[in-house]
Symmetry: C2
Subunit: 342 residues, 2 copies
């Protein structure tokens, strides 16, 4: 039986920030989504997918797997969710979870899952045998492209996926390398690097690019995380950067965003694009110099004329090709990456 998802998004299926996983799956695996569960919007549809109010209501639609579709900061479970998860298990659904709290560590839910013959899959649980980086990353025979950004939740994963799809359409041996739970659901492999022990962060990133090479990739699109000047997540960003040893970077930015969002104690201003480009290139390891090849601009808040003007302004400011690959296609950015490839 192939996977059919029931996306659990109770109370936040309409929230673009906290529904990141749901949105990613709807965008790239919509054919595998049976329904969305959000009792506050029951009876509506989202991107053509029915929204239901309870697990029972979803059953006629044939789901096999409940997927936790929201990401909370810090990754903890709202307590009320446990009841819902029990209901899913009781109805015979496997559960996939990308939060930091592992369902497999809950003795009650684990016992229930065993009793009901279903699986609890914790996407963020680090794989066995992780350790520190060894330098094997530098031996991967592929062009490695990492998305970096001015903030979280501006579309780094989406940009990586779109550029990979475009490169594959061109017949390149291109691979998307997932580093977070949503990317893992989309691609079916990967490691959530933000959940590994800090000392093993670069080691996890190294393992991912080595695996990308082993899978036959000549072009690896590594999903970026966080931002180098993010007060909360910068450690993840830098460990992923140095561990994935990219040759090229695609700098992602949301048009009009001037502050890092969701971090306390600010202000946390975002530097100008030109400074961000230089900052990122400056921070490459001497053993693997990296250049920013292009700017991916998220223009979701703008109308089309504004979007085109913003892209032109970004190109002038950064002195690099820029585009919104979701809105206008990924061709220009892939061209820029291929032109800059070593």
């Amino acid at each position: 039986v192939s996977t059919r998802y029931l996306l659990l998004a109770e109370g936040s299926s309409g929230d673009p920030l906290y529904g990141k996983t749901m949105r990613g799956v709807l965008r790239y695996r919509r054919e595998d989504v049976a329904a969305i569960l959000d009792s506050t919007r029951a009876g509506e549809t989202e991107d053509g997918v029915p929204v239901v109010g309870s697990v029972e209501e979803a059953l006629p639609l044939g789901p096999t797997t409940a997927l936790v579709g929201v990401v909370t900061q810090g990754g903890y479970f709202p307590p009320a969710w446990m009841e819902l998860l029990h209901a899913c298990v009781e109805q015979g659904l496997d559960v996939e979870n990308g939060l930091h709290v592992f369902l497999g560590d809950d003795p009650e839910l684990s016992a229930l899952a065993e009793e009901c013959g279903v699986e609890l899959r914790d996407l963020r649980r680090p794989p066995a045998g992780l350790s520190t980086a060894t330098g094997a990353n530098l031996g991967v025979d592929a062009t490695i492209v990492l998305t970096v950004g001015s903030d979280c939740a501006i579309g780094k994963m989406t940009v990586s996926v779109e550029l990979d799809l475009e490169a594959r359409r061109r017949g390149l041996r291109s691979i998307f390398v997932p580093t977070g739970q949503t990317g893992m659901v989309i691609a079916g492999w990967g490691i959530a690097v933000d959940a590994v022990v800090s000392d093993f962060l670069a080691g996890a990133a190294e393992r991912l690019v080595v695996e990308g090479g082993d899978r036959g990739g000549e072009l690896l699109w590594v999903e970026g995380q966080g931002a180098l000047l993010h007060p909360v997540y910068s450690g993840v960003t830098l460990g992923l950067y140095h561990g994935s040893v990219p040759h090229l970077l695609v700098l992602c930015h949301e048009s009009g965003r001037t502050q890092i969002e969701g971090a306390g104690g600010g202000p946390h201003p975002i530097p100008p694009l030109r400074d961000l480009v230089e900052l990122h290139e400056r921070f490459a390891l001497p053993a693997r110099p990296a250049r920013v090849a292009a700017i991916a601009l998220n223009t979701r808040a703008l109308d089309e004329a504004q979007a085109r003007a913003a892209i032109k302004a970004a190109e002038e400011e950064a002195g690099l090709p820029a585009d919104d690959p979701v809105r206008f296609g990924a061709a220009k950015l892939v061209d820029a990456v291929l032109a800059a490839a070593p």
Copy 2:
């Protein structure tokens, strides 16, 4: 009964890199050390402490606690060690361990410890309730000074401890803030930040400076980790930097070291001091600009005349006060920090 350590350093008590914990404890808690266990050097002494060949041989010296005194890269236990740990437990010693592998997770050793009425303390086990940083770090009412460096294992912890001791001699409410297992043994509190889930790295650093403030510190010396351009550990370095929100940095460097050591796939050259100063200041959060106040130069490989010349050269190159606080005392560096304090 106060703690009396048996330092376990089998086969590597003479190695300055892998015996970091042993060396730190010998330097700052020597009065609490009963013996060092290293069968390859049995009968010798190290800094006046007897080296013994077995647990049994150590018993007449009155140890209460066996401390794993070596740090291996990645923090795994050499398998032969487990036998030694069993012997310690059987002889009634508590065990303290700073490696990434937790002794408390070994069912056999845990059962034996319970049977023998001793405690297994895993120093790197993250405390309960860690989460992402909140911004509370920016509200700490103290001058925060972080040691940073050009590489690992060049003395960042030692510099932090020496500057704290000197500040306390001057009557300041000064506190050393431990971020690694050796510092934790020395000070009796702290979090090994390299062992926390990557997403919670800045959150752990934030908790430490908040606790330093709560302990009444007006001057917090935060133990640094890794290096910003270290291919293996840079994520830890940046997360600790942004999470501890230092006002001032003390840049540590070992005289004559030109390459980052112990990282595969190089070369991994260390940039010139002047570049390192600028790189670190550049990477401060806009919400908490940081300046490098001084250079701490480790001159252990030089004779005294060479050391003085190297310090002078470092001062000229970086345009900042420099000294070797272990060799020549910490007064000059503390003066520099106090002069630069906001």
